[in-house]
Amino acid sequence: MRLLVPTSIVFLLMSMSTGLLALQRGGFQEDPYSAREARTYYENGDLKSEYAWSRLRYSSASNYGGYGFYGGGNWSRDYPKADRQFLIALKRLTRIQARPTEQVVTLDSDDIFNYPWVYAVQVQTWTFTDAEAKRLREYLLKGGFIMVDDFHGTTDWEHFMSGMLMVFPDRPIEDLSDKDELFHVLYDLSERFQVPGEQYVSTGRTYEKDGYVPAWRGIRDDNGRVMVAICYNMHLGDAWEWADDPRYPEKFASLAFRIGINYVMYGMTH
């Protein structure tokens, strides 16, 4: 009886922290926007569509900022609001018949092959098993397309590369020129600038960490088509997510939408 109160307090604390831990590890089973429910959540009644925004849930390198203190880190950063807002823009500005809700895909099953366009963020934390790397490699070589976003600075780049090299050890990464078709599929984006995350509102900085200069890079297949579109030192996901915030400058949101839409269009035409 004496130990009841302290035992129960300790028990409560432990369960809370375990819950917090589980929450941060990505246990989204109860989240209303979770992947499984997103598929069954009808918005406009038409669930099946030509295009489905697919966010890649990758395995994280466990010893690097896995469950960052900022919460909701790695693959699910900005999820799902960024995705949802982007889809609204896609629907309004193009003739792509897109499903209004986003979905999550993984490299564990062949289901990813049904969605030839995927988006991944915070890719400095990604890593692959051999099977996952092989699947992603085949996915891309067969005609798939991946857009990676929101990683900043030299350390992030190195960690990104360690994952990328598992997929394509031999393919060079090149800077995309302004003349590249990727920037002219729908919108002409010869003039681009750094798109910051939401932190710009409070700090006025467009960069994060030491990623001062934005770089649009890509990996091409043997026919010259860009399969991996790399958006380094920019935070497009946040721009989509905070586009409706009056403090977030419209010019960043515009460019972010345009880049995203161009990338989707490119993925559907090349």
């Binding site: 030509e50 295009y51 193009t94 792509i96 049904n114 269009m265 559907m268 035409t269 090349h270």
Partner: protein, 754 residues
């Protein structure tokens, strides 16, 4: 035997007319017959009660019958039965004896050639007998008819390469129209290589009542032989595309055995298939699928491997010519909305060096994204509105586009594109395609190979599995593996389609190559048909891209299918000049007729063009001839020429108007000597029997020939006399009387009635 009993040959009875020569009218005969019948019956009946009991039944009737038959026979004989028949007046008629002198008659059987057998048959007295009664004219029949004086002249003449019985008979009917020909005797093996005898020739002989007696030589069936009847293959193909050839053949003596059917290009085997022979004489059809290879004029040999005992091996292979072209073909692809299928079709086609796609995609409400264009102005104004622009392409693919996206003028243009220009049109499934895009109720509905369903909501984003139909098994579009027997299995294993659309019912002339199972229903997937000068097809899905994404990286199924489908779409699209010959293979006869269809820039017939044919032959022979317009069909030109030497020939036909070249086309053909005679070497008894039956003659075997001189007299042609032949003194009548009487007596004795 017949003649012994009946006194006259069978022909007399078959041709003659039965008459009664007696002076008294016939009705008296009938009355007397009835009287005899009645009288005998009354006689027997009156005697019946006195006869023994066991005779009072049918036996009495039998006796009555026999007695009546006897009485009737005697009565008829009183009226002098006779037969009237037309008979050729001796020495006033000509019998034309035609001896087939073609090369097939030089085939030896049982130690003697067919020709020498014919000569021997004639020499053995038949000719002499004929010459006693008639004037006999001897002819040599090969391609032409030549009169010879005596049989020995046959030996000295060179045999003609081909048999053309029809030509020979025609010439006889024509040249000797004034002469009183009583009958024609044709000694031949019937192996006509010019395609048989036409009805005109037969009707000429029938109208003149000249019977043609045919005497057949040569074995009717070679004991062991395999022969290819025909091989049909498209005369034009695109480089590196698939070709399908249909080969028909028959054999004797090898039923149930196996051999290999091959197609060769020079020494290289393009495809081989094991075949099992059916029963003797049955015609079999097989399809071979093979790759056309690089560009150039090819001579393909279709061969069946000979089996050991076979004597004649030359007829195991036939040659066919294919012109493999490498001129670039362009397809215009109009897509209404960004879709995966669009991207993957473009990807599948990017490795094809001959076919390229220029595409226009509606990316947003007011923007069109163009890919594959050759210069910035191409398609800058959207879908072409002029003939020049659209007819530059060889085929059109329409994706998820509602029909009213095209203005009425553009819709007309599309219809003309297929009909007049001869282009290909492929419609894909999609949200705004087919029924859901209003295509079924548009004026372009006529073009489609299907009758679209009259409802909306025909497009379903649900999986559908695919299956090959039996028509698809032989198609070059749907062959995914080298071995055709495994093709159907391969199709069954393909990943499911991402979506499907109800395409309605195929039209009567359309071919369904593949089907799909969608929503528990079997629906047509790929339907094709020819339309006007062009062709149209419907692929009722936009989900074949799963064949690329859901199969291993190395798998080329998706690419292969699309390349084959698109090549089919463009291969037969004609240019402005289309040259042709009736048959690319000339056998022994070098006469050839070139035809050219010339169209102007709008693909309308250009009747005022100047058309020339430049011919290159073997040994460097060259010729240039001008082609003359056909008065009946504007835009068509003809020229006749003769290829003197055997070998391969190449012809380039160029057309120009007002010093500006309209277009050109290349044509290949070959002359082969001495090949045709090795085919159809069996005696064509069918042909000979038909010929004689339809003209009133008879088919004879060489052994029966001695009876010919007597039977040949009975004919209605020439100078005839109607002769009446008595029948009363036929031995058979005497025998009949004897038979009736003796049987009656025997029966009476047996039954105890005297």
């Amino acid at each position: 035997m017949f003649e012994f009993l009946f006194k006259y040959p069978r022909t007399v009875f078959s041709r003659g007319e039965f008459v009664l020569l007696g002076g008294w009218p016939k009705w008296i005969l009938f009355i007397l017959l009835l009287a005899a019948a009645g009288g005998l019956a009354w006689l027997i009946r009156s005697k019946l009660p006195q006869a023994s009991p066991h005779i009072r039944n049918w036996k009495a009737g039998a006796i009555w019958l026999l007695q009546f038959a006897m009485a009737a026979l005697l009565l008829i004989l009183l009226w002098q039965p006779a037969i009237m028949v037309a008979e050729l007046r001796p020495q006033q008629n000509i019998i034309a004896v035609l001896v087939d002198d073609s090369r097939s008659m030089a085939i030896a059987e049982n130690g003697a050639t067919r020709e020498s057998q014919a000569v021997k048959a004639l020499d053995s007295g038949v000719l002499d007998q004929l010459q006693k009664k008639f004037q006999v004219r001897l002819y040599r029949a090969d391609g032409r008819l030549t009169r010879i004086a005596k049989l020995d002249d046959l030996k000295t003449a060179t045999p003609a390469p081909a048999t053309r019985i029809g030509d020979g008979l025609n010439q006889l009917a024509g040249e000797e129209a004034d002469l009183p020909i009583g009958a024609v005797v044709l000694l031949s093996d019937g192996a006509d290589n010019s395609g048989g005898i036409d009805l005109d020739t037969i009707s000429t002989f029938r109208s003149r009542r000249i019977p043609v007696h045919t005497v057949g030589f040569g074995a009717e069936q070679t004991p062991h032989d395999i022969e290819i009847n025909d091989a049909v293959v498209a005369p034009r193909a695109l480089a590196d595309s698939r070709l399908a050839a249909k080969i028909s053949f028959h054999q004797r003596g090898f039923g149930g055995q196996k051999s290999m059917l091959k197609v060769l290009d020079g020494q290289k085997i393009l495809a081989a298939k094991e075949i099992t022979f059916a029963s003797d004489g049955q015609v079999q059809n097989e399809t071979l699928l093979f790759n056309a290879g690089p560009a150039g004029s090819k001579t393909l040999q279709f061969t069946i491997d000979p089996l050991s005992v076979e004597e004649n091996r030359t007829n195991n292979s036939v040659a066919r010519l294919v012109n493999v072209e490498s001129a670039k073909r362009r397809i215009l692809y109009v897509e209404g909305e960004p879709r995966w299928e669009y991207k993957f079709i473009r990807r599948a086609e990017q490795d094809d060096r001959i076919v390229s796609i220029a595409s226009m995609l509606r990316t947003s409400e007011n923007k069109i994204y163009r890919q594959g264009i050759q210069d910035p102005k191409e398609l800058a104004d959207g879908f072409p509105s002029t003939v020049d622009e659209l007819f530059d392409y060889q085929a059109l693919i329409v994706g998820s586009v509602e029909v009213n996206y095209f203005t009425p003028a553009q819709q007309d243009l599309i219809q003309q594109f297929v009909d007049r220009r001869g282009g290909g049109l492929l419609l894909l499934g999609g949200r705004s395609s087919l029924g859901d895009g209003g295509w079924g109720v548009s004026k372009l509905a006529d073009l489609l190979p299907v009758l679209l369903p009259n409802k909306k909501g025909t497009f379903h984003r649900d999986p559908a599995t695919v299956e090959l139909t039996s028509a698809g098994a032989d198609s070059i579009i749907t062959q995914l593996v080298e071995d055709p027997s495994k093709n159907a299995e391969r199709w069954k294993k393909l990943p499911y389609l991402m979506d499907y659309q109800e395409a309605g019912t195929p039209k009567p002339g359309a071919v369904v190559l593949a089907e799909m199972n969608g929503g528990n229903r079997k629906l047509p997937l790929l339907v094709t048909q020819n339309y006007g000068r062009g062709r149209t097809a419907v692929l009722a899905t936009s989900g074949t891209w799963r064949w690329q994404m859901s199969q291993p990286l190395e798998d080329q199924t998706h690419e292969q299918f699309w390349q084959q489908l698109l090549r089919w779409l463009v291969t037969d699209t004609p240019g402005r000049v289309v040259a042709s010959v009736p048959s690319q293979m000339l056998f022994d006869d070098g006469r050839v007729r070139f035809s050219a269809e010339v169209r102007d820039k709008n693909y309308l017939p250009a009747a005022d063009a100047r058309v020339e044919a430049h011919i290159l032959g073997p040994g460097g022979a060259a010729a240039q001839i001008e082609m003359t317009p056909d008065p009946n069909t504007p835009g068509t030109f003809h020229a006749d020429w003769t290829a003197d030497q055997p070998g391969s020939y190449l012809t380039e036909v160029t057309a120009s108007r007002a010093n500006e070249e309209v277009g050109r086309d290349v044509l290949t053909f070959a002359r082969m000597d001495g090949i045709a005679e090795n085919f159809h070497t069996e005696q064509n008894r069918d042909l000979l029997e038909k010929l004689s039956a339809q003209t009133g003659g008879r088919y004879w075997k060489p052994e029966e020939l001695l009876r010919l001189p007597s039977e040949i007299s009975y004919s209605e042609a020439g100078i005839t006399v109607r002769d009446t032949k008595d029948l009363w003194n036929m031995p058979v009548i005497f025998l009949l009387i004897l038979l009736l009487r003796s049987s009656e007596w025997l029966l009476r004795r047996k039954w105890g009635v005297v």
